[in-house]
């Protein structure tokens, strides 16, 4: 399922705690941020409503952890996209 299908299908019911899997670089978070913003604008949702937490799931993501953590607006910003980083240990 694509991000577009998820956001358009869930609409205002989208879980704010959704996870963005296998993040390996800051560009992954920035890409998602831009896509979510455009989807929110297109569907009439509040910009920033569909927050997502990047998951660090492999060695490559770990080596880019600082730039990933710095890749979203700071906490408190309405467009916060990465309120957390995590190590789900699943892969």
């Amino acid at each position: 399922m694509t991000v577009i299908e998820v956001v358009e299908g869930a609409g205002a019911d989208l879980d704010l705690a959704s996870f963005c899997p296998k993040v390996q670089r800051a560009a992954d978070v920035q890409w998602l941020d831009r896509l979510l913003t455009q989807l929110e604008q297109a569907t009439g949702l509040a910009v920033g409503a569909s927050a997502s937490r990047p998951r660090i799931e492999d060695a490559r993501g770990m080596t880019a952890i600082d730039e990933i953590a710095a890749s979203s607006p700071p906490a408190g910003d309405a467009r916060l996209r990465s309120p957390a980083t995590s190590w789900p240990r699943s892969t």
Binding site: D58, A59, M62, A69, P74, W87, S90
Partner: protein, 151 residues
């Protein structure tokens, strides 16, 4: 875990041989520092043996000093996580005592540092006590000790 060739089949489980150490200490601490530097939450990953609450609690205890909370992979883990991530009653009491004592010594006696029992306390102590006290209050703990200023 697979990316690092960890020798285990259970997500969240220590690989064989790690009876004392923690194979994931560096990873968890590294994520915590990166997150804190940006004022972000850091969340531990799940533990997949959902019926083994004792092992979950042990793993959560390992990550407790570092990450904010562990993702509950199953409802049976939520209660255990709330217990293990809350401060112990003694630590919560001690944190509140430090806050009271520091307030008293810095405002009434107008000193920059003081002692609480046998322990020196200063602004750094207050900062750490604020963290533990906030967690204890959030967990619904109540104080069992009160600060008594010296006569």
């Amino acid at each position: 875990m697979a990316s690092l060739n960890m020798k285990t089949l259970v997500v969240g489980e220590q690989p064989p041989g790690y009876t004392e150490g923690d194979a994931y200490h560096y990873i968890l601490m590294r994520i915590l520092i990166a997150a804190r530097a940006q004022d972000l939450q850091a969340i531990d990953g799940p533990y997949f043996n959902v019926r083994d609450v004792e092992a979950f609690t042990g793993g959560a205890a390992l990550s407790r000093p570092r990450l904010r909370r562990q993702v509950g992979a199953a409802s049976s883990q939520i209660e255990a996580a709330n217990v293990v991530y809350a401060p112990a009653q003694d630590d919560y009491d001690h944190a509140e005592l430090i806050l009271d004592a520091y307030e008293y010594y810095t405002t009434v006696e107008k000193r920059g540092a003081a002692t609480l029992g046998d322990e020196m306390i200063d602004e750094a102590s207050r900062k750490m006590a604020l963290v533990i006290a906030a967690k204890g209050r959030a967990a619904g703990l109540t104080r069992t000790k009160a600060f008594e200023p010296p006569a």
